[in-house]
Amino acid sequence: MLLTQNILTALRSLMANKLRSALTILGIVIGVAAVVALMAIGNGATSDITSQIQSAGTNLLSIQSGRMQRPQAGGAPPSFSPLTLKDYQALQAGLSDVAGIAPVYATNATVVFQADSYSVSVTGTSEDYLKVFSYELDKGRFFTASDRQSVKQVAVLGATTAGELFPNAEPVGQSIKINDVRFTVIGVLKAKGSSGFSDPDDIVLIPLETGYLKLFGANAIRNGQKTLNTIAVSAASPDVVDSIKTQINFILRRQHKLSAEAENDFRVQSQSDMLETLSTVTTTLTTFLGAIAAISLLVGGIGIMNITLVSVSERTREIGLRKAVGARKDHILIQFLIETMTLSLLGGLLGIGLGVGIAQTVSALGLINSLVTASSILLAFTFSLAIGLFFGLYPAWRAANLHPMEALRSE
């Protein structure tokens, strides 16, 4: 009975000062909305990246060229050692327990079919590409090792690219021009589905050797060596990923003639390395968001405390009267705590609503995927309650300890 009375009293006094109450909870609303929305976006981005890493193919190891070599003691200029076709061939010859090795050299090019032209990333690679990156063929065929050897001008299109270039025609067998070089479309890939930042289906694949001879030009050649962006290696099973990593290190160090004390001039990353990197990024992000949340909630809480102190001094006479008719200290304390908690809870609920709204708008606009989790809502809810409790304590304590007689005489 007293509790419902208290809640009623709280609501009444909040309603009596609508504008003031609204302004008071604004801090909490903004803080909670920021937490909910940013956490949703953070979660969404994380799960996007995770699924992208995973959909890139299981047991995947990716090799990239490393940093610039430090200047040598003799004053030789720093050198950059790219991955080369030779590296790929050495790995091809030396690695065991692999399901496939895909060398990758990608460049942006303009693809033209009849009157339509389309700008897309063109990747020179090997016949292992499908297996390594978990693509499947939809139509036609993929190029083979002999297509590479005989420098066939053939191309396989991703689902998106095929749809853009051939809205009405059957792509397989058509002749297209890539940067003015004639290619024949021999196959189309099945769609993998977009997973956020880039579309894995918007690609053109050609035999690597054809690319070097006809398309990539001088950019792909450095110091007389044909270079690669990446070499992707798919392990035969998850258990051998680590041993393959060791083998790659061994082969490439020998290949690059690194002395025993020199650092690697390439990087080998397994999927679990990438997920690990991601999780450190996520942790940093979460800490950062937590700090923002803490600050805005702190500001909101101070606002509530401030207004409640004003309210206590405005209602000194009421407090005196309540004491005169028998209210104990704890009655008054609880009454004001319920008021501050009602305020902060209201702010929290509005904030959650606003935050979810923002997250969904962002998703709906296709900017970035967001994922509102129950735990983030629960967190925001609990936090706003705790803020009300914490910042209500001092004003409520002040009210509870007013001297009954002095309070009645006031004003």
Partner: protein, 242 residues
């Protein structure tokens, strides 16, 4: 043993350098069922005395036995309980909660007494009926006349059936006709229920509605006289009063 026994009460307020002796040794007995008036000039200590009798404040020195209980020994929470159960206050400015209805105002002490909702409602309605406001239960203070507001305040003071009703200038904010109505109500409570009533006033005409008149000056009792023939409520005020 009297209901209220005050012995050599003093109350000193420290105002920076100066000490204000609001009460300078008051001894007074009030029996159960008495109706008396406390009179005296402004600043003579009437309100201070009432706040001590009503357990809103504690004396600087002296002793106060309420119903045989030494009040100065009570803890804060026990004082709150005494105020809730044994004391009913009526103020000059009514002190009603403006955002709540007459009924809710009267319910307030019962909430702090921990009484259930249904029993509370019954008691509160009965108290409002006793002061003749059964038709105004849902009204807010702003929708009531001054006299009606004071009657709501009296119902609130009565609702817990207190041993003592303390009224500090209850007619001070009312015109003389409404003031008479309020005095009539006090007289009826005293006559019909044996209610102990203490009324603070500096209006001699109001004081003469009671059976005993105590005069204070400078924090001391300067006169304490019975009034064997109290004026019945409703008597027109004489043209000239001293």
């Amino acid at each position: 043993m009297a209901l209220i026994e005050l012995r050599s009460l003093t109350k000193v307020f420290q105002m920076g350098e100066n000490a204000v002796h609001a009460l300078a040794g008051v001894s007074l007995d009030i029996e159960k069922g008495e109706m008396l008036a406390i009179m005296g000039p402004s600043g003579s200590g009437k309100s201070t005395l009432m706040s001590i009798i009503g357990c809103l404040d504690v004396p600087t020195s002296g002793s106060y036995l309420l119903d045989g209980q030494a009040v100065e020994k009570l803890k804060d929470s026990q004082l709150a309980q005494v105020r809730n159960r044994k004391i009913g206050f009526v103020f000059q400015q009514f002190n009603l909660l403006s955002r709540t209805s007459a009924l809710e105002n009267v319910l307030l002490p019962l909430g702090y007494a921990g009484l259930g909702a249904r029993a509370s409602r019954e008691k509160a309605l009965k108290a409002l009926e006793m002061v003749g406001l059964s038709q105004r239960v849902k009204h807010h203070p702003a929708e009531l006349s001054g006299g009606q507001q004071q009657r709501v305040a009296i119902a609130r003071a009565l609702v817990n059936e207190p041993a003592i009703l303390i009224a500090d200038e209850p007619t001070g904010a009312l015109d003389s006709k409404t003031g008479e109505e309020v005095m009539g109500l006090f007289q009826r409570l005293h006559r019909e229920f044996g209610q102990t009533v203490i009324i603070v006033t500096h209006d001699p005409f109001v004081a003469r509605h009671t059976h005993r008149i105590v005069r204070l000056a400078d924090g001391r009792i300067v006169a304490d006289m019975p009034n064997p023939n109290p004026i019945p409520a409703g008597t027109p005020r004489p043209e000239l009063e001293i």
